[in-house]
């Protein structure tokens, strides 16, 4: 009797799992590749800080229209008469030029600064791109992202202080800068910093908490 009941409950959940439910999600630019496509017409939309995003694994090259030359120079790309870019390593890619800028409450200042000829669009009207492995367990494709208004900052993930032990070594990450002219290029290579809190100040005793943070290295 009891097993029949749990079977019933199980079936109920199994039936419910068949429904393609649309759970509303809070979109976040930070967890994306900082670009996406407008739901209205598929136009390319970028984060206000983006100069370009280049993902060789998916042949993706997204560029802010006012930084085309800079992007080509930095990627050592030869711009062909067809509009395609020949990128060293044998890649022939047609860049996707942004038409929209994704404006959120926290990016308004940067958006005003970098809007140029782009049109503002809100995050809920965009399908955001994220980096994903081809198969679970495989490495996540590497994307190179150049940002304006950011600077590359060093972070020392080592040592023990006040019971907190950091392990991972020397790291870098793009940090917001007061100078809008500053630029920072995320290489797409991730380094991990493990932060462990111990009961004793000299990082001995029991582990109270442990957390792992991935840093997108920059140059």
């Amino acid at each position: 009797m009891k097993s029949t009941f749990w079977l019933g409950i199980g079936c109920l959940f199994a039936a419910a799992s068949l429904c393609p439910l649309h759970a509303a999600e809070r979109a976040s630019l930070d967890h994306s590749l900082r670009f996406g496509y407008a739901l209205e017409d598929g136009a390319v939309a970028i984060d206000p800080a983006v100069i370009y995003v280049y993902c060789p694994a998916t042949d993706t090259l997204v560029v802010h229209p006012e930084y085309l030359k800079d992007a080509a120079a930095e990627l050592a790309a030869e711009v062909l008469p067809t509009g395609e870019w020949f990128i060293p390593g044998g890649k022939l890619i047609t860049p996707q030029t942004a038409k929209l800028m994704i404006v959120t409450a926290s990016s308004e200042k940067a958006a005003i600064r970098n809007l140029g000829a782009l049109t503002a669009v809100s995050l809920d009207r965009v399908a955001l791109a994220v980096a994903l492995p081809t198969e679970p367990g495989e490495p996540t494709p590497v994307c190179q992202t150049k940002l304006t208004g950011y600077k590359c900052k060093n972070f020392d993930c080592s040592g023990c202080s006040g019971g907190i032990q950091k392990t991972g070594g020397a790291l870098t990450y793009c940090d917001k800068s007061d100078n809008p002219q500053d630029t920072c290029t995320q290489t797409g290579s991730f380094k991990t910093c493990i932060i462990t809190t111990f009961t004793n100040a000299d990082c001995t005793g029991s582990v109270l908490q442990s957390t792992t943070a991935n840093y997108n290295s920059c140059q």
């Binding site: 419910a16 439910l21 649309h22 930070d30 136009a43 042949d59 997108n216």
Partner: protein
């Protein structure tokens, strides 16, 4: 002193870790069943999709082989400009799919509905999802999705049986059908079925477990 400062330092470290990128595994089921190719922004659809229509974002995605059916279902008038006039005053240019998103679990449907579309992997697509509205408190946008190879199934979320009480009333959801020509249209209207497990078979006594399942109503 240390007891206060340690969590602060720790919190600071976590904040510094924010510019990290965490890859999320996408799922067609939790998406709007379409997206854009990262390579060139081409529209990519789930093999079951006939059309996706989201009035709030002026989004209309159509499988090229079902364009006439979609226009008929939406009682749209196709103008010489290519725009569709949809009752209610909407004038939308449909985005015609060029790619079909093929996964391990939908290969059969993909083969059946591929037509002139090209196959693409899920990891090569920026998937569109229903996101929370830009302004908190506003309703979540409603999207109408017509699927082929699915049928609309009724579900009675009411009554008490073996200590399980269901409340929510009559529901429906799209479920895969053995008949590929069956169709099912999700209206975008979500109904919630609350399931409560009681201690006693007559749904009295202490509550052991409670759960809420959202159903995307169909017709």
């Amino acid at each position: 002193m240390r007891k206060i400062s340690c969590p602060l330092i720790f919190g600071g470290l976590l904040l510094m870790a924010l510019p990290c990128l965490s890859a999320q595994r996408p799922s067609l089921d939790n998406s709007l069943r379409f997206g854009y190719a990262l390579r060139d922004g081409a529209v990519a659809i789930d093999p079951a999709v006939v059309f996706v229509y989201c009035p709030d974002t002026d989004t209309l995605i159509v499988h090229p082989d079902f364009a006439k059916d979609a226009a008929y279902d939406l009682t749209a008038e196709i103008l010489p400009s290519g725009e569709w006039f949809i009752p209610g005053g909407k004038l939308i240019t449909p985005q015609v799919a060029k790619l079909m998103i093929v996964t391990g679990s939908n290969e059969k449907a993909a083969l059946r509905n591929l037509g002139s579309l090209e196959a693409v992997g899920l990891d090569q697509v920026a998937m569109a999802v229903v996101t929370e509205p830009g302004t908190p408190g506003e309703p979540t946008p409603v999207c109408q999705v017509k699927l082929t190879g699915y049928k609309c199934q009724a579900y009675d979320c009411s009554g008490c049986a073996s200590g399980t009480k269901k409340s929510g009333g009559a529901m429906s959801f799209c479920t895969p059908s053995d008949k590929p020509t069956d169709t099912c249209t999700q209206t975008g209207s979500i109904k919630t079925c609350n399931i409560t497990q009681y201690q006693n078979a007559d749904c009295s006594g202490a509550v052991i477990m409670t759960s809420a399942t959202n159903f995307n109503v169909c017709n």
